[in-house]
Symmetry: C2
Subunit: 366 residues, 2 copies
């Protein structure tokens, strides 16, 4: 529980500097981050009110989530409402108890309008600000425990991809390979598998292609892009392999992509800018003459969400810090022919970047 107290203390400090009197946290991910439990607040309102002053955080949940909150919440001041009550009334009480009628509240940018409205109607003098940047400022630096979970998530995804590779042969469908990967991940303790994309042959040239019934053929490329969650934390890994043989052209592209990825990983260190990592990958591919076929950013932050800060993209001047985690996933896509992408999960560490995922990148012909 100490970890949640610590996170809340850091948030309070940030709030004080920014002139925020209290935070209202309502998203699943942020509730999990700050209080160790979450409920999906879509139909019904749930949230944690975190005053920046000395008062303890107050947890607000629908009645049917009260037991869960009591068991798992790091904060024990819990108030609930049942289906015959209006959560707006409960929120109003809490605002009153905390003497927050004239407060500046920091909320999440994704807070649904209907919940924003409930808060703003608690008192005519309330002011509400988007505090997303403060939440992500904390969340983007991972603790030791978070890194361990992400490493575990990555090792589970790696097992899944290995099982997928073992399963590939001419005649099996993309869907069948995808199921094999997903099954292996779940058997290895993966909580969920939000995506498990298998693209073969020409399909591999579609950066946003979808797994289909297409059967793998001799001389195909097979690209697998897999995300899974372990104790709330994501891993996201891509590997591209060859069936029967890799042509000279395919081998060349594969080597360029791996070189781009490894070069980008080498540039990752504290005090480097996110855009410099993107540049490093892009330069290798551009110098090889394939710049126009690398059509997406080099990577995205990873953690409780599959896309979060920092984005490894041109123009992002965010300075990398120890404990930040993200993917590095350059790709080259030759429309109508084939595509290659290689993706690993990285933590900014010292003296060099730490690979959270470990899975061979050697060119593999099955």
């Amino acid at each position: 529980m100490a970890i949640f107290m610590e996170r809340v203390e850091k948030l309070k400090k940030i709030g004080k500097k920014a002139g925020i009197d209290a935070f209202l946290v309502s998203s699943e991910k942020n509730m999990r981050y700050f209080a160790g439990f979450s409920v999906l607040a879509i139909e019904r309102f749930a949230g944690i009110m975190i005053p920046v002053g000395t008062s303890a955080p107050i947890v607000l949940v629908p009645k049917l989530e009260e037991e869960k909150a009591k068991e798992y919440s790091a904060f024990k001041e819990i108030r609930s409402y049942d289906d015959s009550e209006n959560p707006a009334m409960l929120l109003r009480q809490v605002v009153k108890v905390l003497r927050m009628e004239k407060a500046v509240f920091g909320v999440e940018g994704i807070l649904p309008f209907k919940f924003y409205r409930m808060l703003v109607e608690c008192s005519p003098k309330i002011r509400i600000e988007d505090a997303s940047v403060f939440f992500s400022q904390l969340r983007r630096i991972k603790s030791y425990e978070e890194l361990k979970r992400m490493e575990k998530a990555a090792s589970i995804v790696a097992e899944g991809i290995k099982a997928g590779i073992d399963f590939i042969k001419p005649g099996v469908s993309e869907l069948a390979i995808s199921f094999q990967i997903e099954k292996t991940i779940k058997e290895n303790g993966g909580e969920s598998v939000p995506f498990c994309i298998v693209l073969s042959g020409r399909h591999s040239a579609l950066p946003h292609g979808e797994t289909s019934n297409r059967k793998v053929r001799e001389k195909d490329i097979v690209l697998m892009d897999v995300g899974a969650v372990y104790e709330g934390y994501y891993a996201d890994i891509t590997r591209t392999v060859f069936v029967g043989e890799a042509t000279k052209m395919q081998t060349k592209i594969y080597e360029i992509v791996v070189k781009a990825q490894e070069t980008a990983i080498k540039t990752v260190k504290s005090s480097v800018k996110a855009e410099e990592v993107d540049r490093a990958a892009r330069k290798i591919i551009e110098d090889a003459g394939y710049g126009e076929y690398f059509t997406h950013r080099t990577g995205h932050g990873l953690g409780l969400e599959v896309h979060e800060e920092p984005y490894i993209a041109a123009g992002n001047k965010t300075v990398l810090k120890l404990g930040m985690t993200f993917t590095i996933e350059p790709g080259v896509y030759l429309a109508g022919k084939f595509g290659v992408r290689v993706e690993d999960d990285i933590a900014v560490s010292t003296p060099e970047a730490k690979l959270l995922s470990s899975l061979s990148k050697e060119l593999l012909v099955i």
Copy 2:
């Protein structure tokens, strides 16, 4: 395209009555409903501005979605912004062009706070109201085309469950059965399978249990609750079957649940209240002495979302109308022993309710 014009005309009519000058629609489902295409507006803003007056709707999208919008949107006035531009500026321009600086805007309750903020900052005289009730008022009545899609979705899920049943035997895991169902659904044209829950033995007694590695044994119950999407529309079906044999007790409970479900379906007609349908199912189970083991509502609306209006629940006085669609899914859960749930998808029709799903409910021993 006529269908989208028609929906927008109905929305305008409702807006006029309610004193709303324009709607801003931004959720994936409502964009699909009103304009025939959607983009996921989470990281980047996208939406459709629908003035209640004579001006045409204006579509706002990030640059990278512009081609998609041009191809699929029912409304051809499309404005885009690229990553170096601020969507707030674009929104402000549109508000100005439409002379909506003093307008009352109707938005979705789930509109993210950051997008609400962009709209409200377009002009100091703008007022914003939650128009969710108007959107759902339209969406809950399905057209012929929508019903056809839901029927198709249901037939695909039925194929999946049949494949699952064929696959069940002692020794196979819940996960393996679940994959078999999901695979069959995708092979039959299912767009996605958002849930595919298989619970065996004692697990079947958990109304919110999760598919596990548990292997099916002789004399187990197996409960399958499966949702899939076809052309945007959901089906959601549950069947419970028996392995080797059904005990007297299991047979009794199964028959009570089926009777409750069929009785509830018989009460479904235009002008009946949602709560009366719930009551009909509940009464059968209560009269049999198992009321306390039927721990959830009888059903939920179904359409572009898996949970929408009308909810078939105690206290819901919504009057059913022709074209409304929902699940009827009573269950009895005997903790530590077993559970039975039977679920079908229903449309309010005349002279009687129409079953969208057709799959045997006879007690099946595998």
